[in-house]
């Protein structure tokens, strides 16, 4: 793909290997489909560096952003991606919508469908909601996070960022540390990284580790040092402090940090050129010290920037697969 050509002309969908109508998760993707998204994102990254950061690719197309859970980063990133592709976008958030007035999810979906969107980006607190919508409505569905299940565009932007720094994913040692049980980011990353040949270690408190996680093809560690030893990538997950309300999983933040907080000292166990990632939002001093978060190994803000390009790629590929004149 040349720099900008496919964005300005009408590409032939048959030229791509992309045939899916929806992006529901990483679990069903093949390595070549993942490569295709990442390669496509490379060409879109350039758009964000232009003085006029906009291409007409999705002009006249409607994208609905349906966020049933609060989100700043992901929603803004999708919105920006849609705007840069010249799509018309519409935002729906959970609070204040019909759902809080007792309407079922399916009725909400049917009503939205009556407005004939081309794509729907959905974030919901319950696993499987994007899959349910995909069965029921005609629009292409992009999963922007379903409970603790999947968050495919996050894993894709993480992979994109790792690839930029490491050249590829195969053979890398990746440590993912934090609240593994409640994280959708970790599940999508496990699928993606293992498909692409990286070795993944997940680490966290025993009270936050899902059962039988090894069956997903990873190693489980219960010690930060053990997890990060020799790592090429250290990915820290947000400790979901709000979950502490329903019966605490650990006694205090200071005790958590003592076991699993990433300090410069602890980062030394990783490879010298290891990068540090975080999907955000960060709890400074809980899972990561500011010295690491703002340090030279941190690629956290690059992840955010890359998110826009990756989401542009996903929107573009799904729209092309819909057979629309993009």
């Amino acid at each position: 793909m040349s720099d900008t050509a496919p964005l300005r002309e009408t590409p032939d969908a048959a030229d791509t290997a992309w045939t899916r109508k929806h992006l529901l998760g990483i679990a069903d993707l093949s390595p070549s489909e993942i490569e295709l998204i990442l390669d496509t994102a490379e060409s879109f990254r350039e758009v964000g560096e232009r003085p006029i950061k906009k291409v007409p690719t999705l002009r006249g197309k409607t994208v609905m952003n349906l966020f049933f859970e609060p989100s700043t980063r992901t929603r803004s990133s999708f919105e920006l991606a849609e705007k840069r592709l010249s799509a018309d976008s519409l935002n729906f958030s959970g609070s204040g919508s019909a759902l809080s007035k007792g309407e079922t999810l399916i009725d909400t979906a049917r009503n939205l469908e009556a407005m004939a969107p081309d794509l729907v980006v959905i974030r919901h607190q319950h696993p499987g909601v994007p899959h349910l919508l995909a069965e029921r409505i005609d629009a292409g569905i992009i999963n922007a996070g379903d409970g603790a299940h999947e968050h495919p565009t996050q894993a894709l932007l993480d992979a994109f960022t790792i690839r930029q720094h490491k050249g590829g994913l195969e053979g890398l040692e990746v440590a993912i540390v934090g609240d593994i049980e409640h994280s959708r980011v970790v599940r999508s990353n496990i699928h993606l990284l293992t498909k692409m040949g990286a070795r993944v270690t997940v680490a966290g408190l025993r009270t936050m580790m899902p059962v039988e996680v090894e069956k997903m093809g990873v190693r489980a560690a219960y010690d930060l040092g053990e997890a990060t030893r020799g790592a090429d990538v250290v990915m820290m997950l947000r400790v979901q402090l709000e979950r502490q309300a329903g019966g605490s999983l650990f006694p205090s933040v200071r005790e958590y940090f003592r076991l699993f907080g990433l300090s410069p000292e602890r980062l030394k166990r990783a490879k010298e050129d290891a990068i540090v990632m975080h999907p955000g939002p960060m709890n400074r001093g809980t899972e990561i010290s500011s010295l690491v978060a703002d340090g030279t190994r941190s690629v956290i803000l690059e992840q955010v920037a890359n998110g826009v390009a990756v989401r542009m790629a996903v929107l573009y590929l799904l729209m092309a697969a819909r057979g629309a004149a993009v």
Partner: protein
């Protein structure tokens, strides 16, 4: 007048059920025989019985069994008639080959007092498609705090007590129930679940809950409750029955309790014998795979199947739990727990357990008739002369496709829709009368 032995249908004519393969586990019987029926009761079993003056039901090529009994169903009446009624539930039972059902107390109002027992019995009398044996609540309002009027409900026809849908969480309350129920000689049926361990769980905790990111219900939630209750049962001498037992470890504890001579019985449900937690993923979060207890691991399934064959399991019961499509047609996390069972149990067991040789036919008949009758002390479950002439006719070669839209139930929540099965109940007799739907 209400009779404590259920809504008996009496037939004044004579009838011969001719030439069927009679399987009656209560008499260790498996032979081609005629069954003679008089005054609604079994009169005689024999070869070439005299049919003079009798109506004849031709059962050649069919299996004839004591009427099948499902001791764990939710008829939803009173209060949830949009899901099921006594009228639709007994038709569903008859269509599935059952001549009797025992219905759970989580109605609205709760079946925790005699007026509800009488309402159910009255409705059952009006719709004589299968007998109905109500199960009363253990505690008032299923609240877990005060004993319901158990004696009064038993006098009106209740055959057991259970807070099913909810466990009796308090050990003190369970102990009291096991003691008090002995005055009326009824079993205490426990929905064994530690709700603290379940928390917000919606499926079995294991590899698949981990993959799907759904909160898990650990096997432990059942196991700690069964362990506790077995201690209470041993201490009180009370009759204890584990509803819808679903884990290998609970099964092992029941096996050991039986070995020690405790008054303990248990049932398992067909879905726990045939499906695993993986089904939630394979069906892409279908709410028809959501029930309590949840579909368990393949190791649990193997253990339960072993329990069927070694006699640890007393009963196969469906936990028929109708829910309206509006309630089930939502995302997995918020859907109610439960699936239908009355119209799929027999064919599922014949096709998936008997045909592959996992379970012999006589053992299945025991689990579906003699066993259930013994657990609840019902008059059926046997074709000995003098017993009610409740019979089920089974065609082992009948090919059926499960079609939920054709169910007699008012609901259609089943994970077995579209399954092609060989073997089906093709008719029932109730008090000697063929049941016509």
């Amino acid at each position: 007048m209400k009779r404590a032995d259920g809504n008996r249908q009496v037939c004044d004519t004579k009838r011969i059920v001719r030439g069927g393969r009679v399987i009656d586990p209560s008499q260790d019987l498996d032979r081609v025989l005629d069954v003679a029926i008089e005054d609604g009761k079994v009169a005689e079993l024999g070869e070439n019985l005299d049919a003079a003056g009798a109506e004849v039901t031709d059962a050649a090529g069919l299996v004839v069994t004591p009427g099948l009994i499902d001791i764990h169903v939710h008829l939803r009446e009173p209060g949830f008639e949009y899901k099921e009624t006594v009228a639709s539930g007994v038709r569903s039972a008859a269509a599935g080959g059952f001549t009797a059902v025992a219905c759970m107390a989580n109605t609205l109002p709760v079946h925790d007092h005699r007026a509800v027992t009488e309402l159910i019995m009255t409705e059952a009398d009006r719709h004589p498609f299968a007998r109905v044996y109500p199960i009363g609540a253990i505690t008032r309002g299923l609240g877990g705090e005060d004993l319901a009027e158990i004696g009064d409900m038993v006098a009106a026809g209740a055959v057991a007590i259970s807070d099913d849908g909810l466990p009796v969480s308090s050990a003190a309350m369970m102990r009291r129930a096991l003691l008090y129920a002995q005055h009326y000689d009824v079993p205490v049926i426990q929905h064994a679940e530690d709700l603290d361990l379940t928390a917000d769980g919606v499926m079995h905790e294991g590899e698949w809950s981990t993959r799907l990111g759904l909160p898990g219900i650990p096997a432990l939630a059942e196991d700690v409750m069964v362990a506790r209750d077995l201690l209470l049962s041993a201490d009180t001498g009370g009759r204890y029955h584990v509803a819808h037992l679903s884990t290998g470890r609970s099964l092992a504890m029941v096996r050991e309790a039986k070995r020690r001579g405790l008054s303990v019985t248990c049932e398992v449900s067909p879905h726990h014998l045939l499906l695993t937690d993986r089904e939630v993923a394979d069906s892409t979060f279908s709410t028809a795979t959501k029930m309590k207890p949840p579909l368990r691991s393949s190791a649990d399934v193997e253990a339960l199947v072993e329990g069927l064959t070694d006699g640890t399991v007393d009963v196969i019961a469906s936990d028929h739990a109708p829910h309206h499509p509006d309630e089930k047609d939502v995302q997995f996390s918020v859907a109610p727990f439960g699936i239908l069972g009355l119209e799929t149990t027999v064919s599922l067991c014949l096709d998936r357990l008997v045909r592959p040789g996992i379970l012999d036919l006589a053992a299945l008949v025991r689990l579906l008739s003699t066993g259930p009758a013994r657990v609840l002390g019902l008059p059926g479950g046997s074709l000995e002369p003098g017993r009610p002439a409740d019979l089920t006719l089974i065609d082992l070669e009948r090919e059926v496709t499960v079609r939920s839209e054709d169910f007699h139930s008012r609901s259609c929540n089943t994970p077995f829709d579209g399954w092609q099965l060989t073997g089906a109940a093709v008719g029932t007799l109730l008090g000697g009368q063929p049941v016509t739907l």
